[in-house]
């Protein structure tokens, strides 16, 4: 009886750990993700470098899609952080949003959010 209780508790702990991993953003300098939504394929490509951040998405269905990229960069010439945000707005088939640093700026991280019909289908954080 006691063993069964410990087993259930262990499974629960493992489940919680797995669930928490699924909501923690991935950290990398580039990322590719592919899946389906309403039976149609979609692809999300995310890139982060010191000089450029972008996200692009393609979707085979008829619903509108959106890419939003939030980023932080440091500007050495004015000694300041910027927090920025670019978005593709909702478009069909292919969406792109990206930012390019000037020669005196350096990106620090970027968060990429991919949506179909106002539903977020994928999120990744890069640095």
């Amino acid at each position: 009886m006691k063993l069964k209780h410990i087993k259930s508790l262990s499974l629960l702990v493992i489940l919680v750990i797995l669930l928490s991993y699924s909501i923690i953003p991935v950290s990398a300098s580039s990322d590719y993700y592919s899946s389906t939504y309403n039976g149609f394929n979609y692809d999300c490509r995310s890139e982060f470098t010191y000089d450029e951040v972008y996200g692009e998405m393609s979707y085979a269905g008829i619903s509108r899609i959106c890419v939003e990229v939030e980023y932080r960069l440091y500007d050495f010439s004015i000694q300041a952080y910027y927090i920025g945000n670019v978005t593709s707005t909702f478009v069909k088939s292919f969406a792109y949003a990206g930012a390019i640093a000037s020669s005196v700026q350096s990106f620090q991280w970027s968060n990429h959010t991919y949506s179909i019909s106002f539903n977020t289908v994928y999120f990744v954080g890069l640095s």
């Binding site: 952080y81 910027y82 930012a99």
Partner: protein, 392 residues
């Protein structure tokens, strides 16, 4: 019945008179913020009031743009550490606290008094103004009464700008940052923030696509245009009176090491020294030679009473750039009067000099967060200069 009604009416009138005599100030007017303690200590400092323009003009000598305010009520700072909240400090060297005291608030939604969701803040006539995406909003000095005011342009491109004497000056930056190759809008705009007028174009020119910063001084707008060959800037001026644009010099520096007022401009040229620009004569002269063996980079702030030079000794901008900073303090005769090391910045982060007030120089060990160190100006040159921790 009539007698009862008369008594009731009289009581209502008396109550009305009493409440009108005790009209709540704007600082106490948020209906869902009854009992807010901020209302009791976000107060006008009557003794040390300065002209309105002092508080509402853009602060050239701070780190960052439009994130720090000195107001008649105290100091305000906007955090960008995933929260976009405004912090308040009575004097700048006292603890910075979020402009919201609701214990159940997560400070991440619009019903929070401190939350802005934006990047730039400004002060004008007893209100705090802030941007949120492509719109301008305002709030009372204690964080109550947030109001949306204007939409500047169609979503979604970001903007860069600041509040200055009742206007918001801005650039639309499709490329996501100032100076980005992706920018296509070559206009400098401005909009009055306290009326119903629409945005207007102040200047149109392709140099705006390479801009690092612009500074409004009276009727003149100075434009710091990136020069990728020198890591410095071209300096232009544009007169809003005569609509004339002219190049002043090929080698200036952006606002991290430059300052301009109505009579003179100052800048530090890397490993050369401090240069002075005379607005009237259009001459630029070397005032003080300053060189370092290990140059790294320098930030120079031209404050009313001192010149602060921060020497960043890291050889690589991307590896602990702000870790070790040597601070040199000069008087306005360019004599070195004191020096100090700032070594409070965590690995991989940026921090250091933030801004100043009458009595203090304010630092942040991490620019994302609220200020946490200060220098007491009265200690400069005494041999006892040190960084003090901002505490309760």
């Amino acid at each position: 019945m009539i007698k009862k009604l008369s008594i009731l009416l009289t009581l209502v009138l008396i109550a009305g008179c009493l409440t009108s005599c005790n009209k709540p100030s704007p600082l106490e007017s948020n209906p869902h913020n009854a009992g807010n303690e901020f209302s009791s200590y976000v107060k006008l400092d009557q003794e040390n009031l300065k002209p309105e323009e002092y508080y509402s003009s853009v602060r050239q000598n701070e780190s960052g743009i439009a994130r720090y305010l000195e107001t008649p009520y105290g100091m305000y700072f906007m955090s960008i550490n995933f929260e976009y909240c405004i912090y308040y400090s009575e004097k700048g060297n006292t603890k910075y606290v979020k402009l919201c005291n609701r214990p159940d608030c997560n400070h991440k939604t619009e019903d929070c008094n401190a939350y802005t969701g934006g990047y730039y803040i400004g002060y004008y006539k007893d209100k705090i103004y802030y941007t949120s995406g492509n719109s301008i909003n305002c709030m009372n000095m204690d964080g109550t009464n947030h109001m949306g005011l204007k939409t500047l342009y169609d979503y979604p491109d970001p903007n860069f700008g600041y509040f200055h004497n009742g206007y918001f000056y801005y650039l639309i930056i499709k490329g996501g940052t100032v100076g980005s190759p992706g920018n296509i809008d070559n206009n400098l705009y401005r909009v009055k923030i306290d009326d119903n007028s629409k945005p207007e174009i102040v200047l149109t020119d392709d140099i705006i696509l390479d801009i690092s910063m612009f500074v409004v001084v009276g009727d003149t707008i100075y434009l710091y245009i990136l020069n990728s060959n020198t890591w410095g800037c071209y300096l232009y001026s544009y007169s809003t009176k005569t609509n004339t644009l002219k190049k002043i010099t090929d080698y200036w520096f952006s606002i991290g090491a430059a300052y301009i007022n109505e009579n003179y401009g100052y800048c530090y040229r890397a490993n050369e020294g401090i240069y002075k620009y005379n607005v009237a004569t259009n001459e630029i002269t070397l005032e003080k030679e300053i060189k370092f063996d290990n140059h790294g980079e320098c930030v120079v702030k031209f404050l009313p009473d001192y010149i602060f030079l921060m020497h960043f000794t890291s050889e690589d901008r991307r590896v602990n750039y702000a870790k070790n900073q040597e601070l040199y303090i000069y008087d306005w005769d360019y004599n070195l009067v004191d020096s100090l090391i700032f070594d409070k910045v965590p690995d991989g982060e940026y921090g250091g000099y933030l801004t100043y007030s009458d009595d203090y120089i304010i630092f942040s060990s991490d620019y994302r967060n609220e200020p946490d160190y200060y220098i007491d100006k009265s200690e400069i040159g005494t041999g006892n200069l040190m960084f003090h921790k901002i505490e309760d």
